[in-house]
């Protein structure tokens, strides 16, 4: 079976389970809502201050929410040892990871579509002219979170203290994405509303490098 079809089947299965349980999306939605609300009430920033803190806040909120969500991604496969069932199937191991990466990306992207306007409202920052470009940045960064996040979730699923291990492993690796995302968003919300090309290239390059590494190492990543 070809890679796209088997990854599509895994993606479809993830989507069906999530639509039935809402475990991952509810976790992420609730966390991001808490961060947006609590920071707004705690600092009560002016419009000018908001433009300074909002880029960092948006990216950190989505990164931590994503890390929470990714912890559940492979733990789900452990309940009934369904990862073994996937590994028994005559498919490329990369298809298992790719299906899950796409699903995790999709769940986070939906959260971003819902919550970017909420951030705009809470922090009184108009995103009207830059919304499309901001979503492009967030989607590139989210894919950068989903790829290594899914891989590390697979690697730590059987580990003791996995709840602690995953963010400890993942967040340092994601530092380039966070820096590029925050800098690009700050430039976008700044006076020139510019989409700075070098940060976009850095985000896309990170995605490509990690996706290629995942493809090359997939057999080792999902083995017992």
């Amino acid at each position: 079976m070809n890679l796209a079809r088997s990854a599509g089947l895994v993606f479809g299965k993830e989507l069906r389970i999530e639509l039935r349980t809402h475990d991952l999306t509810h976790t992420v939605l609730f966390f991001v809502l808490m961060v947006a609300g609590l920071f707004s009430f705690a600092f009560d920033p002016s419009s000018t201050e908001s433009r300074v803190i909002l880029p960092g806040l948006i990216w950190i909120a989505f990164f931590f929410a994503g890390t929470l969500m990714l912890q559940l991604c492979f733990v789900r496969e452990q309940v009934n040892d369904t990862l073994a069932a996937l590994r028994l199937a005559p498919i490329d191991p990369f298809a298992i990871l790719l299906g899950k990466i796409l699903a995790n990306f999709g769940f986070l992207a939906v959260t971003e579509i819902v919550f970017v306007p909420v951030f705009s409202l809470f922090y009184n920052v108009s995103l009207g002219g830059v919304l499309g470009r901001l979503m492009l940045l967030l989607f590139l960064g989210t894919f950068g979170l989903a790829v290594p996040g899914t891989v590390f979730s697979a690697m730590t699923a059987q580990a003791r203290m996995r709840e602690l291990l995953l963010p400890l492993l993942l967040l340092p690796v994601l530092a380039p994405v966070l820096i590029a995302g925050v800098e690009a968003t700050a430039a976008l919300l700044g006076p020139g509303h510019a989409l700075e090309r070098e940060w976009v290239v850095m985000l896309a390059g990170f995605d490509l490098i990690f996706l290629t590494a995942t493809w090359l190492l997939a057999g080792f990543l999902v083995e017992e």
């Binding site: 299965k13 040892d81 028994l88 199937a89 005559p90 017992e224």
Partner: protein
């Protein structure tokens, strides 16, 4: 039973060892299980039965030695996998999905030509047709075991591996399991069943005992068919 395996694979373990860190799970096991045999693997907990089965299922690689699938020497690993069915300790199904959704997902993942037909066939064979639309999480232990067996049978594999399949089954479930194993063997599949249950082992033509990762006894010559009749 309409189960008709497309082939019947044997499996040969050649001086196989498996280490988990400092723990030696298997020690130089050499064993050949021929095509069409029904073999019981016996031994105390931690003797290496599950490790041996997972190696036969290609889920684990040996630390030393090699595992060969007899009758599949010229096939790619993916094609060999299609010929192996595993019923493990856990059910290997998704609790949130219905029986039909679980089976349909795996049928498609294996690239079966008519997944819907295959799903109907196995649902009928394991007696779950009337619970097909119920989520697996609502199933009793016996029904989960039926679903696990249906998942393993959906590709009509030639090599079937059962890891403690009788655990937690009531009398009726146990009788159904015995009949199913006998039916699968009669249909021509190779069966390897790990068990603590002597009466389940008695269904097999050959018994192999493991202790502390070593093969300590092999009842020897394979019998072509069953040694006793099963009620029902």
């Amino acid at each position: 039973m309409t189960f008709a395996p497309t082939s019947s694979l044997g499996v040969a373990f050649e001086r196989v060892e498996k280490r988990y860190g400092g723990l030696m799970a298997l020690r130089r096991v050499t064993l050949t299980i021929g095509s069409g045999e029904f073999v019981a693997l016996l031994g105390p907990n931690g003797s290496g039965k599950t490790t041996l089965l997972r190696m036969a299922a290609l889920l684990l690689q040996p630390s030393a030695g090699r595992v060969r699938h007899l009758g599949a020497e010229n096939l790619a690993p993916e094609a060999v996998r299609s010929q192996i069915g595993l019923v493990a300790h856990k059910a290997l199904v998704y609790d949130e999905l219905t029986a039909r959704e679980n089976l349909s997902f795996f049928a498609r993942l294996y690239g079966l030509a008519s997944p819907a037909e295959s799903v109907e066939r196995v649902l009928g064979e394991v007696g779950l047709a009337d619970r097909a639309e119920d989520a697996a999480v609502t199933f009793s232990r016996g029904m989960r075991q039926r679903l696990a067996i249906a998942r393993a049978l959906i590709t009509e594999p030639g090599l079937l591996l059962f890891d403690e399949p009788a655990t937690g089954l009531d009398r009726e479930g146990r009788q159904w399991l015995d009949r199913t194993l006998v039916g699968l063997h009669r249909a021509g599949a190779t069966l390897i069943v790990s068990t603590h249950d002597e009466s389940l082992a008695a269904l097999a033509g050959r018994s192999i005992w493991l202790r502390a990762g070593r093969l300590v006894r092999d009842s020897g010559a394979p019998a072509p068919l069953l040694v006793r009749e099963v009620p029902g």
